[in-house]
Symmetry: D2
Subunit: 133 residues, 4 copies
């Protein structure tokens, strides 16, 4: 798959649970943080948007867990995005750096909520337009 | 839908993010905790199983986000489970208590990993057999 | 010690780390949540206060860790509060229910920040006045 | 103050709460992660030690909160360590990169627990000996 953004991180021990592996919910945190870093590269900021009444809200998440990350593992968060109707669909995969094994495969749907109502934001569309083909 | 287990919780403020609503990843925490409480009612314990080399590992998560929970909101985590091949499939919905609005609809696939390898656990099958029809 | 508020909780497995015990930072979450529940009993709400420009901000935390909580453990969060100058000082202890062992002993200083500046809030003082002697 | 270790991080939006600032407990996570990275530089690994029956357990934490970090802020976690009796005392300060303002000042006491009992570990003492003067 093609990706338009990637960022490397390292597992923090507190993200792991009794099984010694990263707790499932934390992959969603990794993916959220990756999206927020990505939208900065196209000129958007999650908190700034929120303060101006524009919220990007996740409406659906699908994550397939294939390999587990452990404390200290380095991993690459890769991302692509496309538009389907009013939804932005993020394809987000996480790879373990040591062997480039695919750890999780994610699909995240988000919508724009403007002043509390589902809407269309020209600002978001223009910014995403640069990377969506 | 029929459910075989439910448990009421209250949103903790630290679970909310800048948007003033529960962060998406935390619903996965709610759902995990609900599963672990549920399996106790059928005689299983997540940590005890792990210590005996039997891990229940989530292989796939799908969550639809419909309404947001806010700080202080009470919510009901409801659960059903069925078996598909070697997978246990949990259907997990979260309702806001104040108006019983459906907040999230979740589907979680888990498999048994025994001494590090995908496997079939008679102990798990017997325990789940009581509630899976 | 005398306490003016207490609330019982149960450890969630995701709050535990590789050592199989509740991660240290989570006790601070338990203590924060307990404070927020407590202030509701005296008519205050953390989020509502924030939305009206009144933030209660923690300026100092001291926690002594004495016994560890494990997955599934029930625990009691107990709280007292006094005023020292402009600071509210919360004494917050956590006991394991099974044997009432003291697990953590906490001392949390908080101040009022009004519209972004350190201040004195009559509303807070009046509310706390009922429980501070 | 002199420091023997430092590492730069960036605030992730999910670490912030309704007040728009990093939740207090997360500073403790930052400090834990910094300690674990630091001990790797002197040849120790938290998880590996745990698996061999040697746990470094935090017995006391004191944190003064001076400035708040916000989403996207870069920050430097700095650390020093000394020994007091059987305790390792970590001095851990966090600075905001943009203006090098001191955000939090921390003091963390840890002890060695060997096979479940408070103890002295020659392995830890030797490793720390290189940096403690």
């Amino acid at each position: 798959m093609d990706y338009v953004f990637e960022k490397k991180f390292e597992v923090r021990d507190y993200e792991c649970d009794v099984q010694g592996i990263v707790n499932n919910a934390n992959y969603q945190h990794y993916m959220e943080h990756t999206r927020h870093l990505f939208i900065k590269t196209i000129g958007l900021d999650f908190v700034d948007l929120h303060n101006r009444g524009i919220d990007t809200v996740v409406s659906k998440v699908e994550i397939s867990y294939k390999k587990s990350l452990k404390g200290g593992d380095e991993f690459l968060c890769k991302l692509n995005v496309r538009k389907e109707g009013i939804k932005y669909v993020f394809l987000q995969d996480i790879y373990r750096v040591s062997d480039m094994a695919l750890c999780t495969r994610g699909r995240v749907e988000a919508v724009a909520v403007i002043d509390g109502r589902l809407g269309v934001s020209g600002e978001l569309d223009n910014a995403f337009g640069v990377v969506i083909r």
